[in-house]
């Protein structure tokens, strides 16, 4: 791999290393780079945990079986052999049906008013884009998808809701995402998907993974209800 990349490996805690870039090529898509690198490192099976954020990765090692200096050596050799271009092959597309309506889209009315658009325009703007997974975090299985069309960008709710229905689809700033479980949340809700984002019987029980693209497909109330039968 070309030496335009220069990595910095540092201690985050006793058994946690931080991988960052001191030097990177111009116009590098950092979040995409680190997400892809984290998937690559996870496949090596040498690590307890590999967590990607926007411009860094945290790698947890088994401190009982490997010393910190050995862990640093190993991670450095692995990130050096990582080839971003080769790993950036076409990502599988996941189609997620969404019932956009006032019934579940608690904030649709407010958004269409603020943005002076119709519900149909909102649906088109939201469902016409193939989104990339930018990050996974905040809540179990919650994938930050982007980028959202500029015409739809609005801030988070000033007061988060206490309990959101699982499958709710939200938007905030340049991101959109689906809540896999119930619980609190501060994103503007535009609709709900009837599909399950979590299946305990699968090896990786989360439906949306790091290396995917996601597209939303509008469905009717009837179609939404028939999913649950």
């Amino acid at each position: 791999m070309s030496n335009v990349y220069r990595f910095n490996i540092s201690d985050f805690s006793e058994d946690l290393l931080l991988v960052e870039l001191d030097q990177a090529p111009e116009h590098l898509n950092f979040s995409s780079f680190f997400l892809s690198l984290s998937t690559y490192l996870r496949k090596k099976l040498d690590w307890v945990e590999v967590v990607a954020a926007e411009k860094s990765i945290a790698v947890k090692y088994d401190y009982l079986n490997i010393t910190d200096s050995k862990a640093k050596e190993l991670i450095l050799s692995q990130v050096k052999e990582f080839d971003f271009k080769a790993e950036s092959k076409t990502k599988p597309l996941l189609r997620v049906p969404v019932y956009y309506s006032d019934e579940f889209g608690l904030d649709i009315e407010q958004i269409t008013k603020t943005k002076s658009i119709t519900i149909e325009e909102l649906i088109n703007l939201h469902s016409n884009i193939e989104y990339e997974v930018k990050m996974i975090g905040f809540n179990p299985g919650f994938a930050y998808l982007g980028d959202l069309d500029e015409k739809l960008r609005i801030p988070r709710l000033s007061k988060p809701r206490i309990n959101i229905l699982p499958g709710s689809v939200g938007i905030a700033e340049n991101r959109t995402g689906i809540y896999p479980f119930g619980g609190p949340g501060g994103w503007n809700i535009v609709g709900r998907t009837p599909i399950k984002l979590f299946d305990e019987n699968k090896e990786n029980p989360f439906l949306i993974k790091q290396d995917m693209r996601v597209k939303f497909e509008p469905i009717t109330k009837k179609e939404f209800e028939s999913f649950n039968k």
């Binding site: 805690s13 984290s38 009982l64 990050m135 905040f138 479980f181």
Partner: protein
């Protein structure tokens, strides 16, 4: 075989040692907030360290047993009583059908752990019984125990030999003033120079606004450099992050996997369990140690528990 919840206490949840290996999917470890006291409870009953137990917060529950059990209570002392007669902490208590265990408030520490000779039946999520309240996962319907409900149990699969004598040196000393060892966090240098030494000589107070996700500290403001551009970063239990308002937040076992504030300090792994015992208005001071020293301490603590097992 079951245990009836006569009263639930302030927040009583089922916890084990938590779920490891899922942070990349946004799943925090959870598990007991004070994992040393949790391990100790299981250890005294001769059960595997990872067996699910009840974690009680500030005020304990009242439980009624429908069959005989051995019971052990560790962590914060909530004045446990069996049929209104005081019983001790960190020891094996034998209970009979219809016996009632009642607990009260604690004045030192924040959480107690109740282990039973039988295994608690609960909902497994990603290999752990631990209740994660923000997404309602694990435990029983992902919720705190409710008055009137019943915890079902079944005989423990592994052979158990409860201890006859307990070396209580293993239980932590409970105070209202805590000294916690820390290492420098990745963004330590974003603290203004004038504030850097103050952190280690000041006494912080635990705010009321604290839970399993995090403990907020008040009393002393930490000056963070102006106009910093943070992007979202990986966090860990024990990370102390500091927003621009200068009031540090100690991330707990249920904290989110990513966050956007400077990570100024990291609690040494050996002292991580102490944050589960911080109660509102307790005071906290931080002692700086090197990461190498922290590793040595961790090895020491670990070999102690290996020796036990």
């Amino acid at each position: 075989m079951g245990i009836e919840i006569i009263s639930s206490g302030l927040q009583t949840t089922i916890q084990d040692l938590g779920r490891v290996g899922w942070r990349h999917m946004g799943v925090p470890e959870s598990g007991g907030a004070d994992k040393i006291s949790l391990k100790l409870a299981n250890f005294i009953l001769g059960k595997p360290f990872n067996s699910p137990v009840l974690e009680c917060t500030l005020t304990g529950p009242t439980l009624k047993f429908s069959s005989p059990y051995s019971v052990t209570i560790t962590g914060a002392d909530m004045n446990p009583k069996i049929n209104n007669k005081e019983v001790g902490m960190n020891q094996v208590i034998e209970v009979e059908p219809k016996d009632i265990l009642s607990m009260d408030n604690c004045s030192k520490g924040c959480r107690s752990y109740i282990a039973f000779s039988e295994d608690i039946l609960s909902e497994d999520f990603l290999g752990s019984a631990s209740t994660y309240l923000p997404a309602k996962l694990g435990g029983i319907e992902g919720l705190p125990l409710k008055e009137g409900s019943v915890i079902n149990t079944r005989p423990c699969k592994s052979e158990t030999n409860s201890l006859t004598e307990v070396d209580v040196n293993l239980s932590i000393g409970f105070e209202n003033e805590w000294n916690i060892r820390v290492i420098k966090g990745p963004e330590f240098n974003l603290i203004k120079e004038t504030s850097r030494e103050i952190i280690f000589s000041s006494i912080f107070k635990v705010s009321n606004d604290s839970n399993r996700m995090g403990n907020r500290l008040i009393g002393v403001k930490v000056d963070i450099s102006d106009n910093i551009q943070m992007v979202s970063c990986p966090m860990a239990p024990g990370t102390i992050q500091c927003p621009e308002n200068g009031l540090p937040i100690v991330l707990g076992c249920d904290s989110q996997t990513l966050g956007g504030y400077p990570r100024i300090l990291q609690i040494a792994a050996t002292d991580l369990h102490l944050i589960g015992q911080l109660r509102p208005n307790d005071t906290v001071s931080f002692e700086k140690i090197s990461v190498d020293q922290a590793r040595k301490e961790l090895m020491k603590q670990n070999s102690l528990f290996n020796y036990l097992q």
